[in-house]
C-alpha cells in the first residue's frame, strides 16, 4: 500500500508492543529520523524497559523532536502511542513548530504481537498489558483525525508499503522566474493594466474588451501579493484578469485578507461589510453567478505563501518571519494574511503591527504588501510593495531578480484612507542592529570560506565597537592584518624582498605589484557627494558627509570639522569619479601621514622616551669606560658593544623622527589613497591594482598638496631582472628612511592561485624601520639570530580570514544587503583582531 505523507511532518507510529513499529521504522525511515522511546529510556536510565524512566525519557524525546522540527527535519516517533494523552503531546509539538502531524497505525493482530513479545527475553510483562493496549488502540482509531492528525494511515501488512512524500503547497522552489511581483491592487484595474504595459506585458481581452490574460514576451511570471479586491473601482475586473493569468500559467497569486473576507461573505458567512467590501459586492452584482462562483473557488484555492526560486524568494500578503517559511498551520496562514499585531490599537482604532521585518535575519528575500507606505523601503532583505494606489498613491512592482522597482501613479484617489500613509522603518536604520547579531560564539559562512569567532573575541570587539567606533552604518569594511614575508637569512636583515617574491611564487602567483609603504596610519575614507546623500544612502543624518576611520574603526580625528575639511578636499579631487562610477559615495583605502598625527602619544610616551633614556645613559657609560681603559683596564669589548648600542639608539631615534612632523588642521597632513574599494552597487575588489592605482593617481594629480602618490613597481615573478630592480628600489626606499613596500598580487584582492585564496598583501619592511618594532639593537648578530625564529603561520591564517570577511562585507554592501549582515562581517574582523598574535609581525 502507498502512504502519502507531507514532506515536513511529525510522524507518530501507533501500535501495541510487538506490533513491529521499530522494524517498520528501520525499514522505511532514516535511522536519524526515528526517535524511539526505548532508546530514550536507555539513554536516561540505562534500561530500555525501565517504565519508571518513561517520564524523563519522553521529556528528552520531545526536546530532541522539537530541535529537529525547528530545523525543518522530519521526525518519526517510535512509541506505542496507544493512549490519547501521549498522542496529544505529539500533536501539540507539531503545531508548535507549524508542521503537520501524521499517524501511521500498525494494526498487527494481538496474538502475533504476543508471540513476538514472548520470544524476547527482556520483555517481562504479561499478556494483559498487551490486551489493554489493544483495547486502547481500538478505542482510539476512529478519533485520530479529530485529535489533529492531518493524515491517518492504517497498515495491516508492514512488508508491503511504499511512501510518497507530498511537497507542501507553498513549495514552488522549482519556479525560478524572472518575476514581476505586484503590490496591492485593490480594484485599481486600470492602473494594473498601465503597470503591466509599462513592465512590457501584452494584455489579452475578451470580446467585451475586458482584460482576461496577459503574457510577457520574455516569459516573465507575475506574482500578486494579494488584496486584489475592495475599495477600488473594478475589483471584478482585477479578479478576471488575475484569474485568467493564473489559469494561463503567467501569474501566481497569494491571498490577501480582503480576498479572505470576500470569500467568507460569498460563502454566506456573517462578516462586517466595511473597509471597501461594500464596493466589491455592489460591483459583483453586475457579474454572472458563474463568475462569482468561479472567483470564490479560485480564492479558496490560493496558498497563503509561496517559496520560489530555490527558496531564495518568499511571497506572502503581510510578509512572513523566517521560522514560518515553508510551514503550514493556522497561525502561519494568519500571519500571511494579517501580519503580526501587538494586541494594541492605535489612535485610529487600527491594530498596531509588530515590526517583524526589523528582526528578520533570514537569507530569503520576503516580498509582501498589506500596509500602505509612501515609498517601498528595504528592511533586512524584505520589502513591502503596497504603495497605496487605491488611496491615490502608486501601484508598484518589483522586478526579481533585478530588484528594480517600477511603479505607476494612481489615476485618482479612489478611496479615502482612514489614516495618512506613514513611511516604514527606514531601511538602514541602525535601530535594526541587535546585540544577538554580533555576540557569542559565531560561525560565519561567506563566499570566501567559513570561520568561527570565539565568544571572548566577540566580547572584546563589542567594547571597541560600541564605545569607540564610528557609526556602524558608515563602517563598511575593515582592513585585514598583513603578514611579513618569510624571514630572511641575509646577513643583517630580518625581512628582504627575495622571500616576499618567493612566497608568492610558491603559491602560484605570477605577477605582483610592489607599492611603496607610506609610514603613516591606515585610514579608510568614506566620502559622499554631500551630507544629503550620506543621509539618503547610509541613514546617518548628523550632518556629516562621510567619515575617516582607523584600522580598528575609530574616527581618525576627534574633531568633526577636520574630518569634513578632509572629506571636502577628497571629494573635490575625486569629483569626476562620482559620475564615472555612477555613485554618490566612494570608499577609499589610504594611508594618512604623518604617523605622529595619530600616534603622537605613542611616539612620545614610548619611542622618544627610549631614545631619551639611551642618550642619557650611553654617553656617560662610554666616558666611564674610557676612563677605565685609560687606567689600563681591559674593557675594550664592553666599550665596543656599548658604542654599537649608542649608534643603534641614534639610528632608532632617526627612524621614528622621519615619521614625525607638525600639523595644524589639514596643514601638514597627507593622504595617500591606494585603492577604490567600493562605490554604489559595486565592490571593486575584483579589479586589478593597475586600475586602482590609475584612479588614485588621478586623485593625486587633482590635489597634490593633500594627496600623495604611491610609488610602485610591477614585477613578473619569472623575470629575474625585474625582481632585481624591484629589490634595488626597495633598498633605495628604505635606505632613505622609507618604511618599505607592500607586495600584492597584481590581479587584485580577489586573486586566487591554483584555486586557493592568496595573501592580499605581504609587507616587506626596511632594516632601519624595523628598529622601531624590534628594538634599537635588533640588528646585532646575536639578537638577529634569535629573532629569526618567528612563526608566521598564525598571522597568515588570520590575515586570510580577515581578508575574506572584508571581501564579503563589500559584496554585501554592493548587493544592498541589510545592515546587520554587513555589520556582522565587519564586527568579525574586529573580533579576530583581538586574537593574541605577536605584534611585531
Amino acid at each position: 500500500m502507498n502512504l502519502d505523507i507531507p514532506e515536513l511532518s511529525l510522524i507518530a507510529l501507533v501500535g501495541i508492543s510487538g506490533s513491529g513499529k521499530s522494524t517498520f521504522a528501520r525499514r522505511y525511515f532514516k535511522p536519524t529520523e526515528v526517535l524511539s522511546s526505548d532508546a530514550f529510556r536507555a539513554m536516561v536510565a540505562d534500561d530500555e524497559n525501565d517504565q519508571s524512566a518513561s517520564k524523563d525519557a519522553f521529556e528528552a524525546l520531545h526536546h530532541v523532536a522539537g530541535i529537529r522540527l525547528r530545523a525543518g527535519r522530519r521526525v518519526v516517533v517510535d512509541a506505542t502511542n496507544v493512549q490519547q494523552h501521549a498522542r496529544a503531546e505529539l500533536v501539540k509539538l507539531a503545531r508548535e513548530h507549524d508542521v503537520l502531524p501524521v499517524a501511521i497505525v500498525l494494526d498487527t493482530p494481538e496474538p502475533i504481537a504476543w508471540e513476538r513479545t514472548q520470544a524476547r527475553q527482556d520483555r517481562t510483562f504479561g499478556r494483559q498489558v498487551l490486551r489493554s493496549q489493544q483495547q486502547n488502540l481500538r478505542r482510539s482509531l476512529r478519533n485520530l483525525g479529530r485529535e489533529g492528525f492531518r493524515k491517518v494511515h492504517v497498515v495491516t501488512d508492514p512488508g508491503d508499503v511504499t511512501i510518497t512524500y507530498e511537497r507542501a503547497w507553498n513549495d514552488k522552489r522549482e519556479i525560478t522566474g524572472p518575476f514581476d511581483i505586484i503590490g496591492d491592487v485593490h480594484g485599481c484595474r486600470s492602473e494594473l493594466e498601465t503597470l503591466l504595459t509599462k513592465l512590457g506585458w501584452a494584455i489579452e481581452r475578451d470580446e467585451a474588451g475586458r482584460p482576461v490574460n496577459a503574457t510577457h514576451p520574455e516569459g516573465r511570471l507575475a506574482v500578486f501579493v494579494g488584496d486584489l479586491v475592495d475599495r477600488g473601482p473594478d475589483s471584478p475586473g482585477v479578479l478576471r484578469l488575475v484569474m485568467g493569468m493564473t489559469a494561463a500559467g503567467t501569474a501566481l497569486c497569494v491571498p490577501g485578507n480582503h480576498e479572505q473576507k470576500l470569500l467568507r461573505k460569498l460563502r454566506g458567512r456573517k462578516v462586517s461589510v466595511t473597509h471597501g467590501l461594500a464596493e466589491t459586492l455592489s460591483q459583483l452584482e453586475a457579474e454572472t453567478p458563474e463568475f462569482i462562483e468561479s472567483a470564490a473557488t479560485w480564492i479558496d484555492g490560493l496558498v497563503s505563501h509561496l517559496r520560489l526560486d530555490g527558496g531564495r524568494l518568499v511571497v506572502a500578503h503581510a510578509g512572513l518571519k523566517e521560522e514560518f517559511h515553508g510551514r503550514a498551520s493556522g497561525r502561519v496562514r494568519a500571519f500571511c494574511l494579517y501580519g503580526e499585531t501587538t494586541g494594541e490599537t492605535d489612535e485610529y482604532g487600527l491594530p498596531v503591527r509588530y515590526p517583524w521585518a526589523n528582526d528578520y535575519r533570514g537569507s530569503a528575500m520576503v516580498v509582501y504588501g498589506h500596509v500602505p507606505t509612501p515609498k517601498p523601503e528595504w528592511v533586512n532583505n524584505t520589502i513591502c510593495l503596497d504603495t497605496g494606489c487605491v488611496f491615490g498613491g502608486h501601484l508598484t512592482a518589483l522586478r526579481y531578480p533585478e530588484k528594480d522597482l517600477v511603479s505607476v501613479p494612481a489615476e485618482r484617489m479612489h478611496y479615502e484612507p482612514v489614516k495618512p500613509l506613514v513611511p516604514a522603518t527606514p531601511a538602514r536604520d541602525d535601530a535594526t542592529l541587535n546585540l544577538a547579531d554580533v555576540t557569542g560564539r559565531r560561525h560565519i559562512r561567506t563566499d570566501y570560506g567559513a570561520l568561527t569567532v570565539d565568544a571572548e573575541n566577540a566580547a572584546a570587539a563589542l567594547e571597541v565597537m560600541s564605545r569607540f567606533a564610528v557609526d556602524p552604518r558608515y563602517l563598511l569594511w575593515l582592513p585585514p592584518t598583513m603578514s611579513p614575508p618569510s624571514t630572511s637569512t641575509l646577513e643583517g636583515y630580518l625581512e628582504y624582498p627575495t622571500e616576499a617574491f618567493a612566497d608568492y611564487r610558491a603559491v602560484g602567483v605570477e605577477r605582483v605589484v610592489c607599492e611603496e609603504k607610506h609610514m603613516g596610519s591606515r585610514a579608510v575614507v568614506l566620502v559622499c557627494r554631500d551630507a544629503a546623500s550620506a543621509a539618503g544612502r547610509f541613514g546617518v543624518d548628523d550632518g556629516s558627509s562621510g567619515t575617516v576611520y582607523t584600522r580598528t574603526g575609530r574616527p581618525f580625528f576627534t574633531d568633526a570639522e577636520l574630518t569634513e575639511a578632509l572629506l571636502a578636499r577628497v571629494r573635490a579631487a575625486a569629483d569626476p569619479l562620482f559620475d564615472e562610477l555612477a555613485t554618490d559615495w566612494l570608499l577609499l583605502d589610504c594611508e594618512l601621514l604623518p604617523w605622529s598625527a595619530k600616534a603622537g602619544a605613542l611616539i612620545k610616551g614610548q619611542y622618544a622616551a627610549v631614545g631619551a633614556a639611551a642618550r642619557a645613559a650611553l654617553p656617560t657609560a662610554l666616558s666611564a669606560l674610557d676612563a677605565g681603559i685609560g687606567r689600563g683596564l681591559d674593557l675594550s669589548e664592553l666599550r665596543a658593544r656599548t658604542a654599537a648600542r649608542a649608534a643603534n639608539a641614534g639610528a632608532f631615534t632617526e627612524a621614528y623622527r622621519r615619521y614625525c612632523w607638525p600639523i595644524d588642521g589639514l596643514d601638514g597632513i597627507q593622504l595617500a589613497p591606494f585603492m577604490i574599494l567600493a562605490s554604489e552597487g559595486a565592490s571593486h575588489t575584483a579589479r586589478d591594482h593597475g586600475w586602482h592605482l590609475a584612479l588614485c593617481d588621478r586623485l593625486v594629480a587633482a590635489d597634490p598638496d593633500l594627496l600623495r602618490r604611491t610609488d610602485r613597481r610591477i614585477v613578473d615573478l619569472g623575470d629575474e631582472t625585474a625582481i632585481k630592480e624591484a629589490t634595488e628600489w626597495w633598498l633605495e626606499l628604505t635606505g632613505a628612511g622609507g618604511e618599505g613596500m607592500v607586495i600584492k598580487p597584481y590581479n587584485g584582492l580577489q586573486h586566487r592561485a591554483k584555486g586557493k585564496p592568496v595573501q592580499p598583501g605581504i609587507k616587506c619592511r626596511g632594516r632601519e624601520y624595523l628598529r622601531i618594532i624590534y628594538g634599537p639593537d635588533y640588528t646585532e648578530p646575536r639578537h638577529l639570530e634569535r629573532l629569526r625564529d618567528r612563526g608566521l603561520q598564525r598571522k597568515r591564517g588570520l590575515a586570510l580570514r580577515e581578508h575574506g570577511l572584508g571581501l564579503a562585507a563589500l559584496d554585501a554592501v554592493a548587493a544592498g544587503e541589510p545592515l546587520w549582515r554587513v555589520h556582522e562581517l565587519v564586527f568579525a574582523v574586529l573580533a579576530l583582531e583581538s586574537e593574541p598574535t605577536d605584534p611585531r609581525l
Partner: protein
C-alpha cells in the same frame, strides 16, 4: 643602567675593600635581565670611583617568563622599552647582587670603616622618575643628601615635546656606605614605579630589611612603601603596619605626593548614587536595570534593598563585570539572593532583547562616555527597545566645573568623557527624548545647588506617559 659611587675619603681606594671589588680588576656577574659589570674609572688615594653598568639583553627580557606562556599583555611595549638604558629596578637587583656584603654593612678587610660616614658622590644616569624632580628631592633630601636632578629632554629635535621622565641624578653627602646603598636599593625602584617582576609577600621583608633605621622616620614613607610594593594595596598596608610596630612614634602624615590628575577629575560617585536610589524608590520599581553598571557601585546598594526583586547589571566591559561579580560575592550568595541579580555584557548602542520588560533602567554617569553622535542609537535601544516604565539618567553639569579647583579651563572631569552638558543642554535632550518615546521627563539637581552654576551633577527622571 649606569651607577657610579665616588669618595674622597683618604685613602679613597678603601672603597674597593668595602665593596669587595678590586680597583684594578673589572668584574662581571650574570644577573636578572643581563650582565652586570663593575670597574673603577678612577682609583687614586685622593679620589676613587666605582662604576656599575648593567648590560641588558633586550631579546631575552622580552621573552615571556616561566608560567606566563601566553601573556595577555601582548603589546609592542614588551619589545621596545627603556629597560636596556634606564636605571630601573633591574639595576637595583644587580646592585643587591654585586654589592651584597656592603649592602649589609659587613666588611672583612675594613670593619672599622663600615660605621664611618664617608664623603660620597653618587651619580645615576637615565633615572626614570615618576612625579618629576620634586619627588627626587622629597625622597633623598630628608636622608641628608644634596640632590641635583637634571631632566633629560624627550627629543632635542622636537623641543616642544618637553622633558622626558628621566633625570640625571647626582647625590652628594656624608653617609655610611651601607646606608647609601640601601637608600638606592629602595628608592630607585620607587622612582621608577614600574617593577619588572611580580611583587610577592617576601618583598615586604626585603623592603623592611633595606629600610631599617631610616624608612620608619622618613616623611614620605607611605609613598615609598606603596610604590615599592607596586601599588598592591594589601601588601602596602601590611608593610606599613609592621613599620609602625617598629617605630614608637605613630604619626600618620598626609601624602605630600601630588594627586594624580585623573583621580582628581573623577566625579563624586556618592552623590548620584543617593539621588538615583531616591528616584528609584519613588518610581516604585521592583525589577530594575543598571545600564553601564561598571564595577557595581549601585548594584551593591540595590542588593541591600529587599524591594528590588530582580536586578540586572549590564556593562560593555567584561573586566568591569568581573570586578562587580567579585564585589557582589556572587559565588557565595545563597540561592535565593543569587536569583535576584544577573550580570550581562551588553552594549547600549545595540538592541538587546534581554533588557526588555523591566520596571526601571538607570544610566548613572553613563551617557557622557558615548560619542554624542551615537546617542540616538542609545535612545532607541533604551527608550525604544528595552522600554522600561521608568528611566533615570544622571550626567555631570559642565557649568559646575569652574567650581572644581585645579580642573583646567575647558577640561572635562574624566579623560573618557566625550561631552559634558550644561543644564540647558541636558534639559533639551531630556525633553526631546521624552517626546519621541512617550515619556514625561523631570530634571533634578544632584548635590548642593550653587546659585550661579547649579549642582555638580544633574538627573533626569523619565516616566512613561500614561
Amino acid at each position: 643602567m649606569l651607577l657610579t659611587i665616588s669618595t674622597t675619603h683618604s685613602p679613597a681606594t678603601d672603597l674597593g675593600f668595602l665593596l669587595v671589588k678590586h680597583p684594578d680588576r673589572p668584574q662581571s656577574v650574570e644577573t636578572t635581565g643581563g650582565t652586570a659589570y663593575v670597574w673603577y674609572p678612577e682609583a687614586t688615594p685622593a679620589r676613587c670611583t666605582v662604576a656599575l653598568l648593567l648590560d641588558v639583553d633586550p631579546v631575552e627580557l622580552a621573552r615571556p617568563s616561566k608560567g606566563q606562556r601566553s601573556p595577555d599583555n601582548f603589546s609592542l611595549g614588551r619589545y621596545v622599552n627603556d629597560r636596556p638604558y634606564a636605571a630601573s629596578s633591574l639595576l637595583t637587583v644587580a646592585l643587591g647582587k654585586v654589592f651584597r656584603s656592603a649592602l649589609k654593612g659587613a666588611s672583612r678587610d675594613r670593619p672599622e670603616l663600615v660605621d664611618v660616614a664617608l664623603p660620597l658622590e653618587i651619580e645615576v644616569s637615565a633615572l626614570p622618575c615618576r612625579g618629576g624632580v620634586k619627588v627626587v628631592e622629597q625622597l633623598f633630601a630628608p636622608l641628608g643628601w644634596a640632590v641635583t636632578a637634571t631632566p633629560v629632554p624627550l627629543d632635542p629635535a622636537f623641543p616642544d615635546w618637553g622633558d622626558s621622565r628621566y633625570v640625571q641624578l647626582r647625590l652628594t653627602g656624608r653617609r655610611k656606605l651601607a646606608e647609601a646603598l640601601n637608600h638606592l636599593y629602595v628608592l630607585l625602584p620607587v622612582l621608577d614605579d614600574a617593577k619588572h617582576y611580580w611583587v610577592s609577600e617576601d618583598e615586604v621583608d626585603k623592603l623592611l630589611r633595606a629600610g631599617e633605621g631610616w624608612l620608619a622616620g622618613h616623611p614620605v614613607k607611605e609613598l615609598i612603601t606603596r610604590r615599592y610594593l607596586a601599588n598592591r594595596r594589601s601588601l602596602a598596608l601590611s608593610a606599613l603596619e609592621r613599620l609602625q610596630a617598629a617605630s614608637d612614634e605613630l604619626e600618620t602624615t598626609d601624602e605630600p605626593e601630588e594627586v594624580d590628575e585623573s583621580e582628581r577629575k573623577k566625579p563624586l560617585v556618592k552623590l548620584p548614587t543617593e539621588a538615583v536610589l531616591a528616584a528609584l524608590a519613588e518610581s516604585g520599581a521592583a525589577r530594575v536595570l543598571d545600564l553601564g553598571c561598571g564595577p557595581g557601585t549601585l548594584l551593591l546598594e540595590l542588593m541591600a534593598d529587599r524591594r528590588y526583586i530582580e536586578i540586572v547589571g549590564a556593562d560593555v566591559s567584561s573586566a568591569s563585570l568581573r570586578i562587580a561579580e567579585r564585589r557582589l560575592k556572587l559565588d557565595r550568595l545563597p540561592e535565593r539572593q543569587r536569583g535576584r541579580i544577573k550580570l550581562v555584557q551588553s552594549a547600549l548602542t545595540y538592541h538587546d532583547d534581554r533588557l526588555k520588560g523591566y520596571d526601571a533602567a538607570v544610566l548613572m554617569e553613563v551617557i557622557e562616555h558615548l560619542d554624542e553622535v551615537r546617542l540616538p542609537a542609545l535612545e532607541r535601544a533604551v527608550f525604544g527597545h528595552a522600554n522600561p516604565a521608568t528611566v533615570i539618567v544622571t550626567t555631570p553639569n559642565v557649568e559646575y566645573n569652574v567650581r572644581y579647583e585645579g580642573l583646567a579651563h575647558e577640561h572635562l572631569r574624566h579623560d573618557d568623557h566625550r561631552f559634558e552638558w550644561t543644564r540647558a543642554q541636558f534639559a533639551a535632550w531630556a525633553a526631546r527624548v521624552a517626546e519621541a518615546y512617550g515619556y514625561d521627563a523631570h530634571i533634578r539637581p544632584v548635590g548642593d545647588v550653587d546659585p550661579e552654576v547649579g549642582s555638580p551633577t544633574q538627573l533626569a527622571f523619565f516616566r512613561k506617559a500614561a
